[in-house]
């Protein structure tokens, strides 16, 4: 039989053990919660070749992305581009000439202030229309090249330095409305270049019809102040792997549009069958000059271009991109052949604790 003193001690010990077990369980639960938030490294590594009007270039490229959550509301994220471009020497000289580029695409901090508001600070991608901030990564874009009008409204650098408010204003089962509003300061830094500007984007998404409609506006606030207007429509019918995307943009000196459709069939054994991995892509685009002042990266004369692509989605996040494009303009027509391969990686930065 136990003495009362020993019984009291054992009872105290049992209480302490229970408390310790509870504390350990709470700690483990917290660790498990944190364990899902290990910083990640993602991105794409690829090799592209393009033959434009008879001139061939080869381009190995890597676009790493890092995302690191801090606490429950903060996320630091950044993307960079490293590429080397090789082209045969001109004038019949043997060998290749090469140029390289290394730079940050963006480096931003995102603070989730409320269910409807995220505050973004740093060097962020300008959310003008959709291509720049959604489709430009090499592991996302269906074709090697961006649309001809991709330069409109993003002020050559594609990013702004300053602040942005964004989020989901309304989210219902039948519709949702998203917004972005930003202000950028002027910066001449080599890595973090931006122009003084401000703008915004608003979009309406209808989940039942899988339709998204958006409007963009921004204004250059240095030198000659210029306005840029954009509109886009995306449609992705339910239960299909068909996507239709389109954009229109109008700048001070030029305007244009693009329409892109891509499709993967599920009819022959699903998307992961050998035939379901094929992805035909078609993009039609036109640009129109409003005057002869060239400051936006668009062609110097009115241009029409049709891109016919055929991608193949290999296992292990690897994608082969091929395309043929025919470009028509008063300065001359051209054939553009492009092939490339892209591997997308996505890994934790360290082992961390598994669940």
């Amino acid at each position: 039989m136990l003495s009362p003193m020993l019984g009291f001690s054992l009872s105290k010990m049992a209480k302490s053990a229970r408390f310790a077990a509870l504390a350990l369980a709470t700690f483990c639960a917290a660790r498990c919660g944190i364990a899902q938030d290990t910083p990640l490294i993602s991105g794409g590594v690829g090799f592209f070749s393009a033959t434009n009007g008879g001139n061939t270039t080869y381009q190995p490229i890597i676009e790493p992305l890092i995302a690191a959550p801090i606490g429950s509301r903060l996320l630091i994220e950044s993307r960079a581009t490293l590429l080397e471009s090789f082209a045969p020497n001109v004038g019949g000289q043997p060998g290749y000439d090469h140029t390289h580029f290394l730079g940050f695409t963006y480096l931003q901090a995102d603070y989730i202030a409320s269910p409807h508001l995220t505050i973004v600070g740093g060097d962020y991608l300008l959310p003008f229309n959709t291509f720049n901030d959604r489709l430009s990564p090499i592991w996302i874009n269906n074709l090697q090249d961006g649309p001809l009008i991709a330069g409109l409204g993003i002020f050559s650098s594609g990013s702004g330095i300053g602040g942005m408010l964004s989020g989901s204003a309304i989210s219902r089962s039948k519709y949702s409305i998203n917004y972005n509003a930003w202000f950028s300061a002027r910066s001449g830094n080599e890595q973090f270049n931006s122009k003084r500007s401000s703008g915004g984007r608003a979009s309406l998404y209808l989940p039942d019809s899988r339709l998204e409609i958006g409007l963009s506006y921004d204004r250059l606030l240095q030198g000659t102040h210029e306005n840029f207007y954009g509109a886009y429509v995306w449609w992705e019918p339910k239960d299909t792997a068909f996507r239709l995307r389109s954009e229109f943009a109008r700048g001070h000196h030029a305007q244009g549009y693009w329409i892109e459709a891509d499709y993967r069939t599920q009819a022959f054994g699903g998307l992961n069958s050998w035939i379901g991995r094929f992805e035909p892509v078609f993009r039609m685009q036109q640009t129109f000059r409003r005057d002869t002042i060239v400051s936006d990266g668009l062609p110097l004369v009115n241009t029409q271009r049709a891109d016919f692509g055929l991608d193949y989605n290999l296992p292990h996040n690897t994608r082969i991109l091929t395309s043929y494009s025919r470009q028509f303009s008063s300065s001359g027509n051209a054939n553009i052949w492009e092939t490339g391969i892209v591997y997308r990686f996505l890994i934790p930065t360290w082992k961390g604790k598994s669940q």
Binding site: G33, Q36, T38, P69, V120, P237
Partner: protein, 105 residues
Amino acid sequence: MSQRHFLVRVALSVIFMPLLAALQAESQAALQAVTQTGKKQTPIAHAFEQRQGEGERIFEQNCSRCHTAPESFSPRISGTIVRHMRVRASLSQHDEQELLRFLNP
């Protein structure tokens, strides 16, 4: 120029007409498959699948809109991916939670 326009129109018709026909056929086939599988579910399995379905719907509507889903990733980074998606795709808080549940069932 008019001949070029005509050729572009013909090319568009040739590409889009079979595509739209195939899309319609696939939509109907998918709808039939969902209806058939729905009849055999127990209430618990149905509730579980409904929650999974909600996360899957959010995934399809927001993530797959821009990019193909990665084949697999470590569960240690699922929270980071979802938070990144919340910022990039302006997800609501509810959608973020459902998406996290979908990625970690």
